[in-house]
Protein backbone atom coordinates (compact mmCIF):
# COMPACT_ATOMS: atom_id res chain seq x y z
CA UNK A 1 0.00 0.00 0.00
CA UNK A 2 2.71 2.45 0.97
CA UNK A 3 4.60 1.84 -2.25
CA UNK A 4 1.76 3.12 -4.41
CA UNK A 5 1.90 6.70 -5.53
CA UNK A 6 -1.85 7.15 -5.05
CA UNK A 7 -1.51 6.42 -1.34
CA UNK A 8 1.03 9.18 -0.91
CA UNK A 9 -0.94 11.65 -3.00
CA UNK A 10 -4.18 11.10 -1.12
CA UNK A 11 -2.49 11.16 2.29
CA UNK A 12 -0.57 14.30 1.41
CA UNK A 13 -3.82 15.99 0.45
CA UNK A 14 -5.40 14.81 3.71
CA UNK A 15 -2.44 16.17 5.64
CA UNK A 16 -2.72 19.49 3.80
CA UNK A 17 -6.43 19.73 4.49
CA UNK A 18 -5.97 19.12 8.23
CA UNK A 19 -3.03 21.54 8.28
CA UNK A 20 -5.14 24.29 6.71
CA UNK A 21 -7.81 23.85 9.36
CA UNK A 22 -5.13 24.16 12.04
CA UNK A 23 -3.69 27.13 10.24
CA UNK A 24 -6.97 29.05 10.23
CA UNK A 25 -7.24 28.53 13.98
CA UNK A 26 -3.62 28.98 14.95
CA UNK A 27 -2.98 32.15 12.99
CA UNK A 28 -5.64 33.98 15.01
CA UNK A 29 -4.42 32.48 18.24
CA UNK A 30 -0.77 33.18 17.59
CA UNK A 31 -1.18 36.80 16.51
CA UNK A 32 -3.53 37.57 19.41
CA UNK A 33 -0.96 35.86 21.59
CA UNK A 34 2.01 37.66 20.10
CA UNK A 35 0.39 41.06 19.97
CA UNK A 36 -1.80 41.17 23.06
CA UNK A 37 0.15 38.70 25.18
CA UNK A 38 -3.24 37.18 25.63
CA UNK A 39 -3.60 33.44 26.06
CA UNK A 40 -7.03 32.68 24.71
CA UNK A 41 -7.95 29.11 25.60
CA UNK A 42 -11.49 29.95 24.47
CA UNK A 43 -10.28 30.27 20.88
CA UNK A 44 -11.50 26.72 20.29
CA UNK A 45 -14.92 27.79 21.53
CA UNK A 46 -15.07 30.45 18.79
CA UNK A 47 -14.37 27.69 16.30
CA UNK A 48 -17.20 25.57 17.73
CA UNK A 49 -19.45 28.63 17.76
CA UNK A 50 -18.71 29.17 14.08
CA UNK A 51 -19.66 25.57 13.34
CA UNK A 52 -22.90 25.74 15.36
CA UNK A 53 -24.02 29.05 13.91
CA UNK A 54 -23.04 27.79 10.47
CA UNK A 55 -25.16 24.69 11.06
CA UNK A 56 -28.17 26.80 12.01
CA UNK A 57 -27.81 29.22 9.13
CA UNK A 58 -27.27 26.43 6.63
CA UNK A 59 -30.33 24.68 8.02
CA UNK A 60 -32.52 27.79 7.98
CA UNK A 61 -31.56 29.04 4.56
CA UNK A 62 -30.67 25.76 2.93
CA UNK A 63 -27.65 27.53 1.57
CA UNK A 64 -24.13 26.68 2.60
CA UNK A 65 -22.70 29.94 1.30
CA UNK A 66 -24.94 32.01 3.55
CA UNK A 67 -23.49 30.13 6.51
CA UNK A 68 -20.00 30.49 5.08
CA UNK A 69 -20.32 34.28 5.03
CA UNK A 70 -22.50 34.97 8.05
CA UNK A 71 -21.13 32.54 10.65
CA UNK A 72 -17.62 34.12 10.80
CA UNK A 73 -19.33 37.51 11.04
CA UNK A 74 -21.49 36.38 13.96
CA UNK A 75 -18.45 34.94 15.73
CA UNK A 76 -16.63 38.22 15.19
CA UNK A 77 -19.46 40.11 16.86
CA UNK A 78 -19.37 37.76 19.85
CA UNK A 79 -15.59 38.07 19.97
CA UNK A 80 -15.75 41.86 19.81
CA UNK A 81 -18.24 42.00 22.67
CA UNK A 82 -16.08 39.65 24.68
CA UNK A 83 -13.04 41.79 23.96
CA UNK A 84 -14.73 44.98 25.10
CA UNK A 85 -16.32 43.36 28.14
CA UNK A 86 -13.57 41.09 29.35
CA UNK A 87 -10.39 40.65 27.37
CA UNK A 88 -9.45 44.34 27.40
CA UNK A 89 -9.33 44.27 31.18
CA UNK A 90 -7.45 40.98 31.28
CA UNK A 91 -4.41 42.02 29.31
CA UNK A 92 -2.33 43.20 32.23
CA UNK A 93 -3.18 40.24 34.43
CA UNK A 94 -0.51 37.81 33.26
CA UNK A 95 -0.82 34.42 31.56
CA UNK A 96 -1.95 32.56 34.66
CA UNK A 97 -5.13 34.58 35.11
CA UNK A 98 -5.78 34.63 31.38
CA UNK A 99 -5.55 30.86 31.25
CA UNK A 100 -8.02 30.65 34.10
CA UNK A 101 -10.56 33.15 32.81
CA UNK A 102 -10.54 31.69 29.33
CA UNK A 103 -10.78 28.24 30.88
CA UNK A 104 -13.90 29.51 32.62
CA UNK A 105 -15.17 30.76 29.28
CA UNK A 106 -14.73 27.27 27.82
CA UNK A 107 -17.07 25.96 30.51
CA UNK A 108 -19.59 28.70 29.82
CA UNK A 109 -19.53 28.17 26.06
CA UNK A 110 -19.75 24.40 26.48
CA UNK A 111 -23.03 24.70 28.33
CA UNK A 112 -24.35 27.36 25.97
CA UNK A 113 -23.75 24.94 23.09
CA UNK A 114 -25.49 22.17 25.01
CA UNK A 115 -28.47 24.39 25.81
CA UNK A 116 -28.74 25.78 22.30
CA UNK A 117 -27.99 22.79 20.12
CA UNK A 118 -28.07 19.73 22.38
CA UNK A 119 -25.47 17.06 22.98
CA UNK A 120 -25.92 15.07 19.81
CA UNK A 121 -23.39 15.40 17.00
CA UNK A 122 -24.87 17.40 14.14
CA UNK A 123 -23.70 17.73 10.58
CA UNK A 124 -24.45 19.79 7.54
CA UNK A 125 -23.60 19.01 3.99
CA UNK A 126 -21.04 20.55 1.71
CA UNK A 127 -22.28 22.99 -0.94
CA UNK A 128 -23.62 21.52 -4.16
CA UNK A 129 -20.64 22.69 -6.25
CA UNK A 130 -18.16 20.78 -4.11
CA UNK A 131 -20.20 17.68 -3.33
CA UNK A 132 -18.50 15.52 -5.92
CA UNK A 133 -15.01 14.23 -6.41
CA UNK A 134 -12.16 15.61 -8.43
CA UNK A 135 -9.46 13.58 -10.08
CA UNK A 136 -5.97 14.49 -8.88
CA UNK A 137 -3.35 12.70 -11.00
CA UNK A 138 -5.87 9.94 -11.51
CA UNK A 139 -6.94 9.72 -7.87
CA UNK A 140 -10.50 10.70 -7.01
CA UNK A 141 -10.50 13.14 -4.12
CA UNK A 142 -13.48 14.89 -2.41
CA UNK A 143 -13.83 18.32 -4.00
CA UNK A 144 -14.86 19.92 -0.72
CA UNK A 145 -11.61 18.93 0.97
CA UNK A 146 -9.74 20.40 -1.94
CA UNK A 147 -11.74 23.59 -1.45
CA UNK A 148 -10.60 23.69 2.20
CA UNK A 149 -6.98 23.40 1.09
CA UNK A 150 -7.36 26.17 -1.48
CA UNK A 151 -9.21 28.38 1.00
CA UNK A 152 -6.42 27.93 3.57
CA UNK A 153 -3.81 28.84 0.98
CA UNK A 154 -5.82 31.88 -0.05
CA UNK A 155 -6.07 33.07 3.55
CA UNK A 156 -2.34 32.46 3.93
CA UNK A 157 -1.48 34.53 0.87
CA UNK A 158 -3.99 37.22 1.83
CA UNK A 159 -2.58 37.53 5.35
CA UNK A 160 0.94 37.55 4.02
CA UNK A 161 0.09 40.41 1.67
CA UNK A 162 -1.64 42.35 4.43
CA UNK A 163 1.20 41.80 6.89
CA UNK A 164 4.06 42.56 4.52
CA UNK A 165 2.55 45.09 2.10
CA UNK A 166 0.08 47.27 3.97
CA UNK A 167 0.39 49.94 6.62
CA UNK A 168 -1.93 47.97 8.88
CA UNK A 169 0.43 45.00 8.55
CA UNK A 170 3.36 47.19 9.45
CA UNK A 171 1.49 48.38 12.54
CA UNK A 172 0.84 44.79 13.58
CA UNK A 173 4.47 43.84 13.08
CA UNK A 174 5.61 46.88 15.01
CA UNK A 175 3.21 46.03 17.83
CA UNK A 176 4.48 42.45 18.05
CA UNK A 177 8.09 43.62 18.04
CA UNK A 178 7.80 46.40 20.55
CA UNK A 179 4.46 47.62 21.76
CA UNK A 180 5.77 50.69 23.58
CA UNK A 181 7.90 51.84 20.67
CA UNK A 182 5.02 51.37 18.22
CA UNK A 183 2.80 53.51 20.45
CA UNK A 184 5.53 56.18 20.56
CA UNK A 185 5.63 56.23 16.76
CA UNK A 186 1.96 57.10 16.68
CA UNK A 187 0.38 53.69 16.17
CA UNK A 188 -2.97 53.44 17.90
CA UNK A 189 -2.02 50.18 19.52
CA UNK A 190 -5.39 49.67 21.18
CA UNK A 191 -7.22 49.88 17.86
CA UNK A 192 -4.75 47.52 16.20
CA UNK A 193 -5.23 45.05 19.04
CA UNK A 194 -8.98 45.22 18.72
CA UNK A 195 -8.86 44.73 14.97
CA UNK A 196 -6.50 41.79 15.28
CA UNK A 197 -8.63 40.16 17.95
CA UNK A 198 -11.69 40.48 15.71
CA UNK A 199 -9.79 39.10 12.76
CA UNK A 200 -8.65 36.14 14.83
CA UNK A 201 -12.24 35.44 15.88
CA UNK A 202 -13.45 35.69 12.29
CA UNK A 203 -10.84 33.16 11.17
CA UNK A 204 -11.76 30.81 14.01
CA UNK A 205 -15.41 31.10 13.00
CA UNK A 206 -14.44 30.48 9.39
CA UNK A 207 -12.51 27.37 10.43
CA UNK A 208 -15.61 26.18 12.28
CA UNK A 209 -18.03 26.64 9.42
CA UNK A 210 -15.55 25.10 7.00
CA UNK A 211 -14.97 22.10 9.27
CA UNK A 212 -18.73 21.54 9.67
CA UNK A 213 -19.24 19.37 6.60
CA UNK A 214 -16.05 17.35 7.30
CA UNK A 215 -16.26 16.76 11.03
CA UNK A 216 -19.33 16.39 13.19
CA UNK A 217 -20.56 19.49 14.98
CA UNK A 218 -20.76 18.84 18.72
CA UNK A 219 -20.11 20.81 21.95
CA UNK A 220 -16.68 19.32 22.60
CA UNK A 221 -15.29 20.04 19.15
CA UNK A 222 -13.69 23.29 20.34
CA UNK A 223 -11.93 21.68 23.28
CA UNK A 224 -10.77 18.79 21.14
CA UNK A 225 -9.12 20.98 18.53
CA UNK A 226 -7.65 23.40 21.06
CA UNK A 227 -4.75 21.17 22.07
CA UNK A 228 -3.35 20.58 18.56
CA UNK A 229 -3.85 24.28 17.83
CA UNK A 230 -1.89 25.31 20.90
CA UNK A 231 0.80 22.82 19.90
CA UNK A 232 0.97 24.46 16.47
CA UNK A 233 1.43 27.84 18.10
CA UNK A 234 4.13 26.71 20.49
CA UNK A 235 6.02 24.66 17.90
CA UNK A 236 5.82 27.38 15.27
CA UNK A 237 6.80 30.17 17.61
CA UNK A 238 5.02 33.20 18.88
CA UNK A 239 3.25 35.72 16.70
CA UNK A 240 4.51 34.86 13.23
CA UNK A 241 2.75 33.77 10.07
CA UNK A 242 5.71 31.58 9.20
CA UNK A 243 5.45 29.91 12.58
CA UNK A 244 1.73 29.28 12.21
CA UNK A 245 2.01 27.75 8.76
CA UNK A 246 5.08 25.65 9.49
CA UNK A 247 3.61 24.47 12.79
CA UNK A 248 0.30 23.63 11.09
CA UNK A 249 2.00 21.66 8.34
CA UNK A 250 4.16 19.81 10.86
CA UNK A 251 1.31 18.88 13.19
CA UNK A 252 -1.11 18.12 10.35
CA UNK A 253 1.40 15.88 8.58
CA UNK A 254 2.49 14.06 11.72
CA UNK A 255 -1.12 13.38 12.67
CA UNK A 256 -2.19 12.23 9.20
CA UNK A 257 0.83 10.13 8.29
CA UNK A 258 1.21 8.89 11.84
CA UNK A 259 -2.34 7.57 11.80
CA UNK A 260 -1.76 5.50 8.65
CA UNK A 261 1.89 4.53 8.99
CA UNK A 262 2.27 3.96 12.73
CA UNK A 263 -1.22 3.75 14.27
CA UNK A 264 0.22 2.45 17.56
CA UNK A 265 2.39 5.50 18.02
CA UNK A 266 0.39 8.07 16.14
CA UNK A 267 -1.30 9.81 19.04
CA UNK A 268 1.94 10.20 20.98
CA UNK A 269 4.07 11.34 18.04
CA UNK A 270 2.81 14.91 18.09
CA UNK A 271 3.57 15.26 21.78
CA UNK A 272 7.03 13.80 21.35
CA UNK A 273 7.65 16.34 18.59
CA UNK A 274 6.39 19.13 20.85
CA UNK A 275 8.58 18.04 23.75
CA UNK A 276 11.60 17.85 21.42
CA UNK A 277 10.97 21.36 20.09
CA UNK A 278 10.53 22.74 23.58
CA UNK A 279 13.77 21.21 24.75
CA UNK A 280 15.84 22.20 21.72
CA UNK A 281 14.17 25.50 20.82
CA UNK A 282 12.02 26.63 23.75
CA UNK A 283 11.00 29.76 21.80
CA UNK A 284 9.57 27.73 18.89
CA UNK A 285 10.79 27.32 15.32
CA UNK A 286 9.99 30.80 13.93
CA UNK A 287 9.28 33.23 16.75
CA UNK A 288 8.31 36.74 15.62
CA UNK A 289 11.00 38.24 17.83
CA UNK A 290 14.33 36.58 18.38
Amino acid sequence: MTTEASFWIVQTLNALQLSMLYFLLSIGLTVIFGLLHFVNLAHGAFYALGAFIGFSIAGATGNYWAAFLLAPLAVTVVGALLYLGLVRHMRQLGPMNQVLVTFGLIFVFLDIFRMGWGDIALSFSAPEVFSGRVSILGNPYPAYRLFVIVLGLMVLVGLWLVLSRTQFGAMIRAGVDNEAMAACLGVDVEKVFFAVFCLGCALAGLAGVVAGPILSVEPNMGTDILIPTLIVVVVGGLGSLKGAISGSLLVGSIETFGAVLAPELSAVLVYIMLAAVLILRPQGLFPARA
Binding site: V39, M96, G104, A275
Partner: protein, 353 residues
Protein backbone atom coordinates in the same frame (compact mmCIF):
# COMPACT_ATOMS: atom_id res chain seq x y z
CA UNK B 1 7.91 33.06 51.55
CA UNK B 2 5.70 30.47 53.18
CA UNK B 3 4.57 31.11 56.71
CA UNK B 4 2.31 28.88 58.75
CA UNK B 5 0.38 31.83 60.18
CA UNK B 6 -2.09 31.48 63.04
CA UNK B 7 -4.84 32.18 60.56
CA UNK B 8 -3.75 29.21 58.47
CA UNK B 9 -3.55 26.92 61.49
CA UNK B 10 -6.97 28.00 62.71
CA UNK B 11 -8.51 27.59 59.26
CA UNK B 12 -6.98 24.15 58.90
CA UNK B 13 -8.16 22.99 62.29
CA UNK B 14 -11.65 24.32 61.60
CA UNK B 15 -11.72 22.56 58.23
CA UNK B 16 -10.49 19.29 59.71
CA UNK B 17 -12.97 19.54 62.61
CA UNK B 18 -15.81 20.29 60.20
CA UNK B 19 -14.78 17.33 58.09
CA UNK B 20 -14.60 14.90 60.99
CA UNK B 21 -17.83 16.19 62.53
CA UNK B 22 -19.56 15.93 59.18
CA UNK B 23 -18.31 12.36 58.79
CA UNK B 24 -20.23 11.36 61.91
CA UNK B 25 -23.43 13.18 61.08
CA UNK B 26 -23.91 12.64 57.36
CA UNK B 27 -25.16 9.71 55.36
CA UNK B 28 -23.57 7.62 52.64
CA UNK B 29 -23.69 10.29 49.97
CA UNK B 30 -22.22 12.95 52.23
CA UNK B 31 -19.35 10.61 53.07
CA UNK B 32 -18.65 10.09 49.39
CA UNK B 33 -18.49 13.85 48.90
CA UNK B 34 -16.22 14.19 51.92
CA UNK B 35 -13.73 11.67 50.54
CA UNK B 36 -13.90 13.40 47.17
CA UNK B 37 -13.14 16.76 48.77
CA UNK B 38 -10.20 15.36 50.74
CA UNK B 39 -8.66 13.77 47.63
CA UNK B 40 -9.16 16.89 45.52
CA UNK B 41 -7.73 19.01 48.35
CA UNK B 42 -4.57 16.91 48.43
CA UNK B 43 -4.18 17.22 44.68
CA UNK B 44 -4.77 20.97 44.85
CA UNK B 45 -2.18 21.35 47.61
CA UNK B 46 0.34 19.49 45.47
CA UNK B 47 -0.35 21.86 42.56
CA UNK B 48 -0.20 24.96 44.76
CA UNK B 49 3.25 23.87 45.90
CA UNK B 50 4.68 24.40 42.40
CA UNK B 51 2.18 26.88 40.94
CA UNK B 52 1.82 29.15 43.93
CA UNK B 53 5.32 29.03 45.33
CA UNK B 54 7.70 28.12 42.51
CA UNK B 55 5.61 30.12 40.02
CA UNK B 56 5.43 27.22 37.56
CA UNK B 57 1.84 26.76 36.43
CA UNK B 58 1.52 23.09 35.64
CA UNK B 59 -1.14 21.61 33.42
CA UNK B 60 0.03 18.04 33.92
CA UNK B 61 -1.06 17.43 37.49
CA UNK B 62 -4.11 15.54 36.32
CA UNK B 63 -1.75 13.16 34.53
CA UNK B 64 0.49 12.77 37.60
CA UNK B 65 -2.63 12.04 39.63
CA UNK B 66 -3.65 9.50 37.01
CA UNK B 67 -0.20 7.88 37.05
CA UNK B 68 -0.52 7.34 40.81
CA UNK B 69 -4.00 5.89 40.37
CA UNK B 70 -2.98 3.61 37.48
CA UNK B 71 0.18 2.32 39.14
CA UNK B 72 -1.85 1.41 42.20
CA UNK B 73 -4.59 -0.21 40.13
CA UNK B 74 -2.20 -2.13 37.86
CA UNK B 75 0.12 -3.40 40.56
CA UNK B 76 -2.72 -4.56 42.81
CA UNK B 77 -4.99 -6.13 40.18
CA UNK B 78 -2.57 -7.44 37.57
CA UNK B 79 0.71 -7.89 39.47
CA UNK B 80 -0.81 -8.90 42.80
CA UNK B 81 1.18 -6.45 44.90
CA UNK B 82 0.05 -5.71 48.43
CA UNK B 83 -1.76 -2.38 48.79
CA UNK B 84 0.97 -0.62 50.83
CA UNK B 85 3.66 -1.57 48.30
CA UNK B 86 1.39 -0.47 45.46
CA UNK B 87 0.74 2.84 47.20
CA UNK B 88 4.46 3.45 47.58
CA UNK B 89 4.95 2.47 43.94
CA UNK B 90 2.28 4.91 42.79
CA UNK B 91 3.74 7.80 44.76
CA UNK B 92 7.28 7.00 43.66
CA UNK B 93 6.51 6.68 39.96
CA UNK B 94 4.48 9.90 39.95
CA UNK B 95 7.36 11.65 41.68
CA UNK B 96 9.86 10.29 39.16
CA UNK B 97 7.71 11.28 36.21
CA UNK B 98 7.21 14.76 37.67
CA UNK B 99 10.91 15.15 38.37
CA UNK B 100 11.67 14.27 34.77
CA UNK B 101 9.09 16.76 33.47
CA UNK B 102 10.44 19.43 35.81
CA UNK B 103 14.01 18.90 34.62
CA UNK B 104 13.13 18.82 30.92
CA UNK B 105 10.86 21.88 31.00
CA UNK B 106 13.15 23.95 33.23
CA UNK B 107 14.22 26.25 30.41
CA UNK B 108 10.73 27.24 29.35
CA UNK B 109 8.80 30.11 30.90
CA UNK B 110 5.30 31.41 31.27
CA UNK B 111 2.86 30.12 28.71
CA UNK B 112 5.53 27.91 27.14
CA UNK B 113 5.94 26.13 30.43
CA UNK B 114 2.17 25.69 30.69
CA UNK B 115 2.16 24.25 27.18
CA UNK B 116 5.08 21.94 27.83
CA UNK B 117 3.47 20.48 30.93
CA UNK B 118 0.23 20.17 29.01
CA UNK B 119 2.05 18.20 26.33
CA UNK B 120 3.56 15.77 28.79
CA UNK B 121 0.21 15.35 30.50
CA UNK B 122 -1.56 14.64 27.23
CA UNK B 123 1.18 12.22 26.23
CA UNK B 124 0.51 10.20 29.37
CA UNK B 125 -3.24 10.40 28.75
CA UNK B 126 -2.97 9.21 25.17
CA UNK B 127 -0.58 6.44 26.13
CA UNK B 128 -2.93 5.08 28.78
CA UNK B 129 -5.98 5.58 26.58
CA UNK B 130 -4.48 3.62 23.69
CA UNK B 131 -2.87 0.86 25.70
CA UNK B 132 -5.03 -2.25 25.97
CA UNK B 133 -2.93 -3.58 28.85
CA UNK B 134 -4.25 -0.70 30.91
CA UNK B 135 -7.81 -1.45 29.90
CA UNK B 136 -7.83 1.26 27.22
CA UNK B 137 -10.80 3.56 27.44
CA UNK B 138 -12.72 1.02 29.54
CA UNK B 139 -10.36 1.58 32.45
CA UNK B 140 -9.67 -0.96 35.17
CA UNK B 141 -12.11 -2.07 37.81
CA UNK B 142 -11.86 -4.17 40.95
CA UNK B 143 -9.19 -2.01 42.56
CA UNK B 144 -8.87 -2.97 46.24
CA UNK B 145 -8.66 -0.61 49.18
CA UNK B 146 -5.91 -0.65 51.75
CA UNK B 147 -6.47 -3.29 54.41
CA UNK B 148 -6.08 -1.74 57.86
CA UNK B 149 -7.93 -4.44 59.78
CA UNK B 150 -4.83 -5.11 61.93
CA UNK B 151 -5.47 -1.80 63.68
CA UNK B 152 -9.21 -2.30 63.66
CA UNK B 153 -9.97 0.02 60.77
CA UNK B 154 -12.21 -1.09 57.95
CA UNK B 155 -11.66 1.08 54.90
CA UNK B 156 -14.53 -0.64 53.15
CA UNK B 157 -16.76 1.42 55.40
CA UNK B 158 -17.46 4.82 53.78
CA UNK B 159 -17.10 6.73 57.04
CA UNK B 160 -13.74 5.23 57.93
CA UNK B 161 -12.53 5.66 54.37
CA UNK B 162 -13.54 9.35 54.34
CA UNK B 163 -11.73 9.90 57.64
CA UNK B 164 -8.70 8.08 56.24
CA UNK B 165 -8.70 10.40 53.22
CA UNK B 166 -8.89 13.46 55.48
CA UNK B 167 -5.96 12.10 57.51
CA UNK B 168 -3.84 11.51 54.40
CA UNK B 169 -4.71 14.96 53.04
CA UNK B 170 -3.65 16.49 56.36
CA UNK B 171 -0.35 14.60 56.25
CA UNK B 172 0.10 15.79 52.67
CA UNK B 173 -0.45 19.38 53.75
CA UNK B 174 2.09 19.08 56.57
CA UNK B 175 4.64 17.57 54.20
CA UNK B 176 4.13 20.39 51.70
CA UNK B 177 4.44 23.01 54.45
CA UNK B 178 7.63 21.36 55.66
CA UNK B 179 9.11 21.41 52.17
CA UNK B 180 8.24 25.09 51.80
CA UNK B 181 9.97 25.93 55.06
CA UNK B 182 13.15 24.13 53.98
CA UNK B 183 15.95 25.54 51.87
CA UNK B 184 14.35 24.05 48.79
CA UNK B 185 11.12 25.93 49.50
CA UNK B 186 13.00 29.21 49.82
CA UNK B 187 14.86 28.52 46.59
CA UNK B 188 11.50 27.86 44.90
CA UNK B 189 10.08 31.18 46.05
CA UNK B 190 13.29 32.93 45.00
CA UNK B 191 13.02 31.37 41.56
CA UNK B 192 9.48 32.67 41.20
CA UNK B 193 10.59 36.18 42.07
CA UNK B 194 13.69 36.37 39.89
CA UNK B 195 15.28 33.44 38.10
CA UNK B 196 18.27 35.35 36.80
CA UNK B 197 19.18 36.54 40.27
CA UNK B 198 18.80 33.06 41.74
CA UNK B 199 21.12 31.74 39.04
CA UNK B 200 23.61 34.47 39.83
CA UNK B 201 23.46 33.41 43.45
CA UNK B 202 24.61 29.97 42.39
CA UNK B 203 21.35 28.05 42.25
CA UNK B 204 21.11 25.24 39.70
CA UNK B 205 17.69 26.03 38.33
CA UNK B 206 16.89 22.79 36.59
CA UNK B 207 17.61 20.61 39.59
CA UNK B 208 15.61 22.88 41.89
CA UNK B 209 12.68 22.79 39.49
CA UNK B 210 13.02 19.02 39.15
CA UNK B 211 13.09 18.54 42.92
CA UNK B 212 10.11 20.83 43.48
CA UNK B 213 8.20 19.07 40.74
CA UNK B 214 9.10 15.62 42.03
CA UNK B 215 7.78 16.39 45.51
CA UNK B 216 4.64 17.94 44.10
CA UNK B 217 4.22 14.99 41.76
CA UNK B 218 4.60 12.56 44.64
CA UNK B 219 1.75 14.26 46.49
CA UNK B 220 -0.37 14.29 43.31
CA UNK B 221 0.39 10.58 42.95
CA UNK B 222 -0.72 10.02 46.54
CA UNK B 223 -4.01 11.74 45.73
CA UNK B 224 -4.30 9.46 42.70
CA UNK B 225 -3.69 6.36 44.80
CA UNK B 226 -6.50 7.47 47.10
CA UNK B 227 -8.75 8.21 44.13
CA UNK B 228 -8.20 4.68 42.78
CA UNK B 229 -9.14 3.24 46.16
CA UNK B 230 -12.07 5.60 46.51
CA UNK B 231 -13.91 4.61 43.36
CA UNK B 232 -12.17 1.21 43.12
CA UNK B 233 -11.94 1.95 39.44
CA UNK B 234 -9.57 3.92 37.23
CA UNK B 235 -10.16 5.36 33.77
CA UNK B 236 -8.04 7.40 31.36
CA UNK B 237 -10.30 10.36 32.12
CA UNK B 238 -8.26 10.86 35.30
CA UNK B 239 -5.28 11.95 33.18
CA UNK B 240 -7.11 14.24 30.77
CA UNK B 241 -5.99 17.85 30.65
CA UNK B 242 -9.31 19.24 31.83
CA UNK B 243 -8.67 17.51 35.16
CA UNK B 244 -5.48 19.56 35.50
CA UNK B 245 -7.49 22.62 34.54
CA UNK B 246 -10.09 21.93 37.16
CA UNK B 247 -7.45 21.52 39.84
CA UNK B 248 -6.03 24.87 38.77
CA UNK B 249 -9.55 26.27 39.18
CA UNK B 250 -9.66 24.85 42.70
CA UNK B 251 -6.30 26.41 43.55
CA UNK B 252 -7.18 29.87 42.24
CA UNK B 253 -10.65 29.76 43.74
CA UNK B 254 -9.23 28.96 47.17
CA UNK B 255 -6.19 31.20 46.90
CA UNK B 256 -3.03 30.61 44.90
CA UNK B 257 0.11 30.43 47.00
CA UNK B 258 -1.61 30.01 50.34
CA UNK B 259 -1.54 26.21 50.64
CA UNK B 260 -4.63 26.36 52.88
CA UNK B 261 -6.74 28.05 50.23
CA UNK B 262 -6.69 25.08 47.83
CA UNK B 263 -8.28 22.94 50.54
CA UNK B 264 -11.06 25.48 50.90
CA UNK B 265 -11.31 25.68 47.13
CA UNK B 266 -11.71 21.89 46.89
CA UNK B 267 -14.54 21.92 49.40
CA UNK B 268 -16.28 24.83 47.68
CA UNK B 269 -15.96 23.39 44.17
CA UNK B 270 -17.14 19.89 45.07
CA UNK B 271 -20.11 21.22 47.04
CA UNK B 272 -20.92 23.78 44.36
CA UNK B 273 -20.83 21.13 41.65
CA UNK B 274 -23.06 18.91 43.76
CA UNK B 275 -25.56 21.65 44.61
CA UNK B 276 -25.74 23.06 41.12
CA UNK B 277 -26.02 19.69 39.44
CA UNK B 278 -29.01 18.87 41.62
CA UNK B 279 -30.69 22.04 40.30
CA UNK B 280 -29.60 22.00 36.69
CA UNK B 281 -27.64 19.85 34.28
CA UNK B 282 -25.61 22.87 33.35
CA UNK B 283 -23.22 23.12 36.28
CA UNK B 284 -20.35 23.94 33.92
CA UNK B 285 -21.71 27.38 33.21
CA UNK B 286 -22.01 28.16 36.92
CA UNK B 287 -18.50 26.91 37.67
CA UNK B 288 -17.19 28.87 34.70
CA UNK B 289 -18.80 32.11 35.83
CA UNK B 290 -17.64 31.59 39.42
CA UNK B 291 -14.12 31.10 38.11
CA UNK B 292 -14.17 34.24 35.96
CA UNK B 293 -15.55 36.30 38.84
CA UNK B 294 -12.97 34.82 41.23
CA UNK B 295 -10.11 35.83 38.95
CA UNK B 296 -11.46 39.26 38.03
CA UNK B 297 -12.20 40.16 41.64
CA UNK B 298 -8.48 40.28 42.28
CA UNK B 299 -7.47 36.65 42.01
CA UNK B 300 -6.69 36.37 45.68
CA UNK B 301 -9.15 33.54 46.09
CA UNK B 302 -11.27 32.79 49.12
CA UNK B 303 -8.42 32.40 51.57
CA UNK B 304 -6.60 35.43 50.20
CA UNK B 305 -9.74 37.49 50.83
CA UNK B 306 -10.03 36.12 54.34
CA UNK B 307 -6.40 36.99 55.02
CA UNK B 308 -6.93 40.50 53.70
CA UNK B 309 -10.08 40.96 55.74
CA UNK B 310 -8.49 39.69 58.96
CA UNK B 311 -5.31 41.65 58.27
CA UNK B 312 -7.27 44.85 57.78
CA UNK B 313 -9.27 44.29 60.95
CA UNK B 314 -6.27 43.63 63.12
CA UNK B 315 -4.30 46.35 61.38
CA UNK B 316 -1.18 44.24 61.68
CA UNK B 317 0.97 43.50 58.70
CA UNK B 318 1.44 39.88 59.53
CA UNK B 319 -1.53 38.31 57.85
CA UNK B 320 -1.17 40.85 55.05
CA UNK B 321 2.34 39.57 54.52
CA UNK B 322 0.89 36.21 53.70
CA UNK B 323 -1.72 37.71 51.42
CA UNK B 324 0.79 39.88 49.63
CA UNK B 325 2.95 36.86 49.18
CA UNK B 326 0.10 35.10 47.49
CA UNK B 327 -1.52 37.81 45.48
CA UNK B 328 1.39 39.99 44.62
CA UNK B 329 3.15 42.97 46.07
CA UNK B 330 1.23 46.09 46.94
CA UNK B 331 -0.29 47.61 43.85
CA UNK B 332 1.51 45.32 41.45
CA UNK B 333 0.53 42.16 39.66
CA UNK B 334 1.01 38.86 41.46
CA UNK B 335 4.52 37.49 41.81
CA UNK B 336 3.66 34.34 39.95
CA UNK B 337 2.26 36.45 37.15
CA UNK B 338 5.24 38.73 37.16
CA UNK B 339 7.43 35.74 36.38
CA UNK B 340 5.21 34.78 33.47
CA UNK B 341 5.19 38.37 32.28
CA UNK B 342 8.95 38.49 32.33
CA UNK B 343 9.03 35.50 30.06
CA UNK B 344 6.68 36.99 27.49
CA UNK B 345 8.14 40.49 27.54
CA UNK B 346 11.13 41.09 25.37
CA UNK B 347 12.86 42.93 28.22
CA UNK B 348 12.44 39.94 30.49
CA UNK B 349 14.34 37.68 28.17
CA UNK B 350 17.58 39.58 28.42
CA UNK B 351 18.20 38.06 31.82
CA UNK B 352 17.76 34.52 30.59
CA UNK B 353 19.93 34.63 27.52
Amino acid sequence: MFQQTHLKTVTLLLLAAAGVLHAYTTGYFGLELLAEIAILALLAVSLDLVAGYAGTISLCHGALYGVGAYVFAMTTTAAGWSAPAAMAGGVLLSALAAGFIGAVTARTHGIFFIMATLAFGQMAYVYVFKNRDFGGDDGLSGVPRLDLSVIGVDLGDPRQFALFCILIAAIGYLAAAQVLRSGLGRAMVGMRANEARMRALGLTLWSTKAAAFAISGGLAGLAGVLAAQYSQYVSPGLLFWTVSGEVLVVVILGGLGTLVGPILGAAVLVLLKHEVSSLTNHWHIVVGIVLIVAVLSGGRGIFGEIERFVGRRSGAGRAIGGAANAAGGPGGPGDAEAVGEAATRPGGESGHA
